[in-house]
């Protein structure tokens, strides 16, 4: 068949949300890919400029739908930098618990949808069902399932309710039990090896230059994690090893890294890591205040300056660049979403030469999340 054009999205199951890839295909091979985004552009950065420092808190979490807490965290950190605040210890530990639980939820979702893109619909059904138990924890802690608005500049909104640690422990052991089942069905499945190994390779020597971050970078063999490089919240006190490519634990190393298989297995291993971190944080959590006293929200003025904060999300590195001129509203908030590089430049390059059967697999393994590209 001669060359033809194919549109993947925005209405297509094989794309990771409301975005579009325009493919030029020769036979089964993609010769050129172009990403088209903007379907979710709400102009957050514009809206934030006309709202006060505290009014922006409910806006930021809408930037990443599967894992909203990282945005709250990054924004809170940037404001704390500007205000020169030191967050109470207890709040830092609660933040770690919230962030890690959100990470588990996001990884369950991304693994599930990746498996769905390979055609095994059992796994998404299981992972998404189990993810709901984590949302139950959030509901008890914050009152909301998806958008928590819980991490505020200066601490967390309220203290942890009594009895929640038991629920968290119960849920974590349930998820651990279920993870074994996922391993048997999917992570040790021969067809999965055949499909995923060596697909969607990011050249290792160019990964950093391309701005690849997070699990995708760790799958290339670089053990870089913002939680280790620039410890925020209470991550400095946590005991964990960064998961990176050749050390894949119980899982087979069947390819030379940087491919869809390694990316998904790294995500799977980081669930284990997050579970252990939540347990550590619960054990080490000190008593004390949970939030600093805020100035009057309507008259809150942040000192002039430039602040940049970065956090590690399940998709990669989130960066918040906040500029203040000393008034009650920010001059500029710019969000660096991890999918900005993964979804556009990296995807456009690595889709070249891929089989159309693998396009959706590659997109899901990069875990592209359009809302943080467009904002």
């Amino acid at each position: 068949m001669k060359e033809y054009e194919l549109f993947i999205g925005p209405q297509h199951p094989g794309v990771t949300g409301n975005m579009m890839y325009h493919l030029w295909v020769d036979g089964d091979i993609v010769t050129k890919a172009e990403c088209n985004v903007g379907y979710l552009h709400r102009g957050f950065e514009k809206l934030m400029e006309s709202r006060g420092w505290m009014q922006n808190v409910p806006l930021v979490c809408r930037i990443c739908v599967p894992e909203p807490d990282v945005n709250e965290m990054a924004y809170a950190m940037a404001v704390e930098q500007l205000m020169d605040w030191e967050v109470p210890d207890r709040a830092s530990y609660i933040r770690v618990i919230v962030l890690e639980l959100a990470r588990i939820a996001a990884y369950l979702m991304s693994i599930g949808s990746y498996a769905g893109s390979l055609g095994i619909y059992t796994l998404p059904q299981w992972t998404l069902g189990d993810r709901d138990y984590i949302l139950d924890i959030f509901e008890q802690l914050t009152g909301a399932r998806v958008y928590h608005i819980y991490i505020w500049p200066g601490g967390v909104r309220w203290d942890m309710p009594e009895g929640l640690p038991d629920l968290i422990e119960k849920t974590l052991s349930y998820i651990e039990k279920r993870l074994k089942l996922y391993d048997d069905v999917f992570f040790r499945n021969r067809v999965f090896f055949d499909r995923a190994a060596g697909i969607g390779k990011i050249p290792k020597n160019r990964a950093i230059e391309w701005g690849v971050t997070g699990p995708n970078l760790r799958a290339c063999g670089y053990g870089y994690d913002v939680r280790k490089l620039e410890p925020y919240a209470a991550y400095g006190d946590m005991d964990f090893e960064v998961v990176k490519y050749p050390e894949l634990g119980d899982f087979e190393v069947i390819s030379d890294g940087c491919d869809a298989y390694t990316r998904i297995v790294v995500r799977r291993l980081e669930i284990d890591q997050s579970i252990s971190m939540v347990r550590q944080a619960l054990k080490k959590m000190p008593e004390g205040e949970h939030i600093l006293k805020h100035p009057n929200w309507l008259k809150w003025k942040a000192p002039a300056g430039y602040a940049f904060s970065r956090v590690e999300s399940s998709k990669g590195e989130y960066g918040y660049f906040v500029v203040s001129d000393g008034s009650s509203k920010p001059v500029r908030i710019h969000v660096r979403g991890p999918s900005y590089t993964h979804g556009i430049n990296v995807a456009e390059t690595i889709l070249k030469g891929a089989n159309i059967a693998d396009v959706s697999q590659i997109l899901f393994s990069l875990d592209v999340c359009p809302p943080d590209i467009e904002r």
Partner: protein, 184 residues
Amino acid sequence: MGLFDGDIMKYEDWNKISRIASRKSLWMVHFCTGCGAIELPPVMTSRYDMERFGMGPMATPRQADVLLITGYLTVKTLKRVVNVYEQMQSPKYVISFGSCPINGGMYWDSYNTVKRLDRYLPVDVYVGGCMPRPEGVMNAFLELMKLIDEGKARGWEKYQKYYEQYKRNQKMAFNFEREKDEGA
């Protein structure tokens, strides 16, 4: 056309069979237009399981009956949504999620989101909240089933009847600047 004219079966009875069947088998388009799509997977999967009521996601608009507007709509998405809606085969229904399609929600002053969906597409059921909880979503589906059963879910007929008005509004949103120039 004896079957439809009342020779064999009354037109109303025929309609009733159609309604009973379509109530219990609502297929929705797989289109995540906004953040509300995050509460759909829990509704479709093992915790809430909407397949009990015969609902399921469909890959293309031709096969589907229900269009879910999951959250805010940007102008760019609205164009695609209108395309998808027009490709669907009637009877077709629209459910809108969250507060954004009702009155703009928290994006009331955004330059790129459509504020009131009912000016561009006929909406059968609204679900309030940001985000609507899965229970709310399920309730909306059940409400739609009830409306279909009573013959009140007539958004698609409304769209046909007032097609010019809908088209005019859509055009105004798509090419606002050009329209303004012509008007001036």
